[in-house]
């Protein structure tokens, strides 16, 4: 609870939960989503999503399973292109550029918008090669050793692997592998890192390390994380988007965005009853 200036003459003290003193004006939107719809063939997976992802913030997407949060995440780096029957309509603007414009190359997009997956998936190669692969194929011709070291340092993994960079990535523990995947994602110098349930396959300590790491990464990258762990979203994110499943008369289950606000507000005084029901466990 923050106390606004206690001016005695101005009347009784009023405090609203979730107040943040920073104004929104100086925090531009990296992604501007407007009327996003995703279909897989005839199946309407996601309906009419509109939201803005802000720079240098951690945005969490939460909701029950089947609500489309992973689908929405994968729209941001055009990974849905890999699914033949997927159709994306509406618009997503990345720094003001239409991400699905005809001239846009998805391969280039993925160099700017990195991704970390649910199950750690390092390449079956050495630790060094894992990190250097992305920059190498992107044509990086600078000091690769330094880039690898920097990426691993930012991912809080350098100290643990600096003496075994040629060792196999698979020799690392689950938590270390995931940090390696983070290092790999940031090696191409993206400005956004998407994380699809990055800690759900990890033990609690490894999970907390990843969460701690995210706070540090936030200074240089904008992060969007999908998580089914509400407490994690509460601990880690600045803003939270709550999705749910809308069941139509036809029986079709479509994902919709219910509420999108500052995390502190969502978890102390959410605006929508659906949001409150979900996070307090009164959800049907």
């Amino acid at each position: 609870m923050q106390v606004l200036a206690t001016d005695v003459a101005s009347g009784p003290m009023t405090v609203t939960l979730g107040d943040r003193s920073e104004p929104a004006a100086d925090n531009p939107a990296i992604f501007d989503v407007d009327g996003l719809n995703v279909h897989y063939g005839d199946f309407h997976a996601v309906k009419d999503v509109s939201m803005g992802i802000r720079k240098n913030e951690i945005t969490a997407l939460i909701g029950p399973s089947g609500c489309g949060k992973s689908t929405v995440l994968r729209c941001f780096n055009r990974m849905n292109d890999l699914i033949e029957i997927a159709r994306v309509s509406g618009s997503i603007e990345y720094h003001g550029v239409d991400l699905y414009g005809p001239e846009v190359d998805p391969v280039q997009v993925r160099r700017h918008i990195g991704m970390v997956f649910q199950k750690p998936n390092p390449f079956p190669k050495s630790i060094y090669d894992n990190v250097s692969f992305g920059p190498k194929i992107a044509g990086f011709d600078g000091d690769m050793d330094q880039l690898v070291e920097e990426s691993l340092t930012r991912a809080a993994l350098w100290d643990e692997v600096k003496d075994k960079l040629d060792g196999s990535a698979y020799a690392l523990s689950g938590g270390q592998q995931q940090r390696l995947c983070i290092a790999r994602a940031i090696a191409t110098s993206p400005d956004v890192v998407l994380m699809d349930e990055p800690a759900s396959a990890l033990d609690p300590i490894a999970t907390l390390r990843i969460e701690d790491l995210m706070q540090g990464l936030k200074e240089d990258y904008s992060i969007v994380i999908v998580t089914h762990n509400m407490q994690q979203a509460a601990r880690v994110s600045d803003r939270t988007a709550f999705f749910t499943v809308d069941v139509e008369q036809t029986g079709q289950r479509t994902g919709v965005l219910v509420e999108f606000d500052e995390t502190s507000k969502i978890f102390t005084n959410p605006g929508e009853k659906q949001t409150e029901d979900y996070i307090t466990g009164r959800f049907g």
Partner: protein
Amino acid sequence: MAARTGAVDTAAIVRQSIEGRRFSPGGAAFEAGLLLMLLVSLGVLVTLLADVITGALPVFRDRGIDFVTSGISLDSSTAGVWTGLLGSVGISVIVAIVAFPLGLGAAVYLEEYAPDTSVTRFIQTNIRNLAGVPSIVYGLLGLAVFVRLVDLIGLGGSDSVGGRNLVAAGITLAVLVLPIVIITASEALRAVPDTIREAGLGVGATRWEVVRHHVLPSAAPGVLTGTVLALARAFGETAPLLVIGVATGFFSAGSAGVFERLTGSYTALPVVVLSWSRQADPVFKENLAPAAILVLLVVLFAANTAAVILRNKYDRKW
């Protein structure tokens, strides 16, 4: 659990229900039956092997390695497998050169690039069917097409041989094993987890870069093993060669150069076995033929072992 609650002795009841071996006559009989089947199968193989070895032993005892290094001859005391061995090796090389790139390329396209449509599935089903086609059919194909083709493009041999040479044989057998190469390569590619591809695409690699840097290296052990096994299969094929036209009798390569050897008459090890087993001279039939079979078996055994070693070498747990 040791509580004695008056008249009820828990421990005793539990002991009664969990102790004591239960003998099941059905299970024992089943196990015995399986063992019997194993012994019979092994018995058949052992008998065959023993038969071959007893026949071949005198040859190796009397002539040793000379048997392997001598060429074909009408004289049973000087005939050897060298010509046949050379022919089979030559065929295998051609098979490798033709079938490996074609097969791998087709497999990569089918697994990594082709969309999952009914057409693709139709093609994959039919490749499987082709793998089951009797080898003599490929022989007929070889005779109708490849023999003429080889002659046309100037790789035909001199005199009456025409296109009925090693090159045509190699191409024909390559086509025969092609479905096998495609299938095993496909399986090896499919065994590479999709998470690797996702990871590669996720850092901004094109599909080709993902295949080249991650999928193929990962699938390499499986692909190699499949190719070696395909080659071993080609090594032992006889029927197609007979149809295309392989020398079953005596012929002399003499002082021919490499090109003439490639384009002229040739023979293969299995064919040598066949022709010797038809000779009137009992030495050919009872000793030399088994000896040649033994050489054939040794080569095949070595090939399979090589496949296993290769697989183990490249399949290190990353």
